[in-house]
Every structure is written in C-alpha cells, then in structure tokens.
C-alpha cells in the first residue's frame, strides 16, 4: 500500500483541507439558496399579477439568468463588472450573489408555475367568500402551491450544489480547487492520486445531493398519494 494513491488523502492535512473546501462549497450554496428562495418566491408571486410591464421585466430577468451559462455569469460579475463599474467583491461573496440571483430567477418560474396550476375553482371560491388579494395568496394559493413546488425546488438545490464546482474559475478555494492542488502536489509520487481525490469529491457531492433528491422523490410520492386518495 506504500505507493497506493489512497494515502494521498491522509497525508499531512490533506483531508482536513478537502473538508474545508467542502465547507466553502456548502456555505456558498446554502446562503445563495436561502437568499435566492426568498427573493424567488416574491418574484414568482409578482409574476402571476396582471401588470404587464412588471411581468415583462421579470420575464427578461428570468430569461437572462436562465440562458446565460453560469460560467459566463461568474466571469461577467467577477472580471468584467469590476472594470466597467468599479464593483468589487471577494470571490466567495460574489459567487454567493451570482448564485442567489440565479436561484431567484429559476425559483420565480417554479413559484409562478405552481401558483397558476392551483385549480381555478379554488381561486374563484376564495374570491366568492370575499378574500382580498393578499388573503387569497396567503390562505388559498400559496399553501396549495408549496406542495407543488417543493420537489422542483429541491432539484434546483441539487443543481446549485453541483454547479459550485465552477467556482475554481474565479479563485474561490472550493473542494474541487483544493482537490486539484492536492493532485498536482502529489502527481509524481502518487500518479493514481487523481482517482482517489476525485473519488472522494464524488462521494462528498453524492452524500450531499443524494439525500436531497431522495427527499424530493418522497415528497412527490406523498403528494400524489394525498391528491389521488
């Protein structure tokens, strides 16, 4: 086992460093998700209103963040905006901001979709008993929309976590970046280290993402059971 690549993982502080990188990854994803979800729900509700200019603006916002690849967004915010507009943030805060804006855009579409798929008669019944717009959303539409949107939201969360692997491009010391440092530092003494380091990173991502997607599946199943009796 002397020259087996697996020893690379446990040499010196390598393992702690990988865990530290994972923490950076998780922290950025978590903060971005929290901010993005809150903002996204507000934007999603606004998108169901009949105000045309508002809907056009929000639609443009959604399409911009959905169409432009995340790599390009990161580059744009990290390298190009600072030069043009004197807008300078450290890499990890900037990454959180970009991801939050992206999550908000995607989330607004999920929320809008869920809100308009609540059966029309529910809305009409609400109006019939004299609820105003706020009450209608608060007591009728949003509670019913939540169960519709949760699985899609969790899927969005897993996508965000996976996409954090792009952060190495803007000098954020995430788990992939640290993995590459370790691989390069040990490349000559342990050529098979690549396999083990990436294997461990795979395991990390899997351990975070799999429970989430399992949870999403379970919620979806429960919802169907409830809906169909």
């Amino acid at each position: 086992m002397d020259h087996s690549g697996i020893s690379v993982l446990f040499e010196g502080t390598n393992f702690q460093r990988l865990l530290g990188g994972l923490w950076v990854t998780v922290r950025i994803a978590a903060v971005a998700l929290i901010i993005g979800l809150i903002l996204g729900i507000m934007l999603g509700v606004l998108r169901t209103f009949k105000n045309r200019p508002l809907r056009v603006i929000l639609r443009l916002y959604l399409e911009f963040f959905r169409i432009v690849p995340t790599v390009v967004l990161l580059f744009l915010f990290y390298y190009i905006l600072p030069r043009q507009m004197n807008f300078n943030l450290p890499g990890d805060q900037l990454a959180t901001l970009v991801f939050a804006l992206w999550v908000a855009a995607e989330m607004s579409d999920i929320v809008r979709g869920a809100l308009i798929s609540v059966p029309q008669h529910q809305k009409e019944s609400g109006k019939a008993i004299g609820l105003n717009r706020y009450q209608l959303y608060r007591y009728v539409l949003i509670p019913q929309a939540i169960s519709l949107e949760i699985p899609a939201t969790i899927n969005l969360a897993t996508r965000v976590i996976k996409t954090t692997s792009l952060l190495m491009l803007i000098s954020v010391m995430d788990v992939i970046n640290i993995g590459q440092q370790i691989i390069e530092a040990n490349n000559h003494s342990h050529p098979t280290g690549v396999f083990w380091v990436y294997g461990l990173i795979f395991l990390f991502y899997f351990l975070i993402d799999y429970p989430l997607s399992w949870w999403a599946k379970r919620l979806e199943k429960k919802r169907l059971e409830r809906a169909n009796g």
């Binding site: 040499e11 010196g12 502080t13 390598n14 702690q16 460093r17 901010i35 903002l39 507000m42 934007l43 509700v45 606004l46 209103f49 105000n51 508002l54 990290y78 390298y79 190009i80 600072p82 030069r83 507009m85 004197n86 807008f87 300078n88 943030l89 890499g91 805060q93 900037l94 901001l97 939050a100 804006l101 908000a104 105003n132 717009r133 706020y134 190495m168 491009l169 803007i170 000098s171 010391m173 970046n177 640290i178 590459q180 440092q181 370790i182 691989i183 390069e184 530092a185 040990n186 490349n187 000559h188 003494s189 050529p191 690549v194």
Partner: protein, 284 residues
C-alpha cells in the same frame, strides 16, 4: 383600492430587495476606490498592510500547495520576499493561466507572480517588471513515439493550456497543428496520459520537471520558437509598484537570491540536464 396599493407595495419591496443586493456590492467598492485612484500603489499597499499576489496553486515547483496546506515554490518564495521588503503581509490569490490578466485588470490582485511569460500581446494590456527567469516553449511526448521536430506535428493533436505562451506560439506560428486546449495543468497532463494528443506543449522548464517524474515521457523538442522571459506583472499604468518591483528584482539578482531560490525550490524537481544558468538570469 386596497388591492392595488398592496400590489404596489409588494412590487416596490421586491424591486428594492433586488437593488439592495446589487448595490450592497457597489457601495463597498466605492468606499475603497475613493481612498485612492490606484488601489495597488506602493503607498496604498503599505497603508493596507497587505499585498495581494496572484500565484498558481497547481504548478509545482513554481507555485503549489504542499501536504501541510502551505503555499510553496519558486514564485511563492519570491512573493514572500517581496512582501517582507515592502514591510507588509502577503495575501495569496490563486489563479489559472488564463485569468492572470483579468485578475490584475479588475483589481483582484496587486502583483502577479505566476510563472508569467512576457509577450507583446500581454504587454499591451498589463505592465511587466524586469524578468527573473527565462524559458522557451518545449514539447513533451511519449518515449515510445517521440516527437523531435515541429514537422512531425503537422495535422496532429497537440495539447496546450489556455492562455499559455505555448498556445500563443502554436496559434500564431504553427497554424497547421491542431490544438486541444484545456483550462488547467491538471487537465492537460491527464489528456496527454489518456492519449488525446500526440504531444503536449508548455514552457520547457516546467516540462523538464514533469518528465523527470514521468519517465515514460520525454521532452523531444527542448526549445521551439523565441526565447522568452518570466516577469512579475502589475496593472497597466501602475508606475508606482512597477518601479518598486524593478528595483527589487535588480537588488535580488545582485545578491543572487534567485540562484538560492533555484537551488531550494527548483533543483530537486529538475533533471541533471538543467542548470541554474538555464533558468536564472545573469547579473548584468
């Protein structure tokens, strides 16, 4: 009426929330930039007490991270010395080959010490100080199928890293060679090992080191294209730090700091065929 005002309220609140997110960032930067027009001048660096230096994190023996999580290497030793002579702390920012220029121009770092080769194209967008190393492009290939002359590369796949001198040279001077471009050193060597190209082009000193540790490969072409130099780089127009760095390089060359740096950081990595004088510049 009630409904309307509520709609408006929600609209205003969310628009403000979005704006706040964006402006929070702007506000910060305005504060820092109003202190001085040049956030990377020597005076400003001394005032801040830290110099931000861009280094590689995956390029042994120039800039890499050892098993204790410490940044080490030829460039890193120089970076520590520069910070010491300025009397400030050093903050390292890890970069890739193709974002070194952007890191400077968008004020992410004050100085780049990341094996940065001087080229006319780069000189137009950033300022280089005096060189502290010399290299040229080399080509490494498997020993079983060695490439020893440029003519053997015609129409074949050659692996390079984006933004390197090697990519530049082959794109402009050897247009009949097909290039496979990668984002990092890790990726380019994996591609060579997986046989995605017949050879890999990069700075020769770096390839000497790599082939010493990968005995199945040989640097078949030791030097192709013009000789080039490696220099510290600063943002275009940052005269203050540029002049200081030039003086520093002169001083360090005279006290043979670079030979010592070579012996401690590079020698263990290079084969016997490489001598300090192949890498370090002589005292003028």
């Amino acid at each position: 009426m009630k409904k309307r005002s509520l709609t408006r309220l929600i609209a205003v609140v969310s628009v403000f929330a979005t704006l706040l997110l964006v402006l929070a960032g702007c506000g910060n930067s305005k504060k820092s930039s109003s202190q001085s027009n040049n956030p990377s001048s020597v005076q400003q660096i001394k005032k801040n007490g830290t110099i931000r230096i861009a280094v590689f994190g995956d390029l042994p023996p120039y800039g890499w991270v050892n098993k204790d999580g410490k940044r080490v290497g030829y460039d890193v030793t120089l970076a520590h010395r520069v910070a010491k002579d300025l009397g400030v702390k050093v903050k390292f920012v890890q970069v890739n080959a193709n974002n070194r220029v952007d890191a400077l121009n968008s004020n992410k770092v004050d100085l780049v010490l990341a094996n940065f080769t001087v080229t006319p194209e780069r000189k137009q967008v950033i300022d280089f100080a005096k060189p502290y190393m010399k290299v040229s492009v080399g080509v490494v290939s498997p020993k079983s199928k060695p490439i020893t002359s440029a003519s053997q590369l015609k129409g074949k796949n050659v692996i390079v890293t984006k933004g390197t001198t090697a990519e530049n040279y082959f794109t402009s001077k050897q247009q009949n060679v097909k290039l496979l471009k990668f984002d990092s050193k890790t990726q380019q060597f994996n591609a060579l090992k997986n046989g995605r190209g017949v050879a890999l082009a990069d700075d020769n000193s770096y390839l000497y080191a790599w082939s010493k540790n990968n005995p199945k490969y040989t640097v078949g072409i030791k030097s192709i294209g013009p000789k080039s130099y490696i220099s510290p780089a600063v943002k275009k127009g940052n005269k203050s730090l540029l002049n200081w760095t030039n003086k520093e390089i002169n001083k360090l060359t005279k006290e043979s700091f670079f030979v010592k740096d070579y012996n401690s950081q590079l020698k263990p990595y290079f084969g016997k065929e490489v001598k300090p004088s192949d890498i370090v510049l002589p005292v003028k």
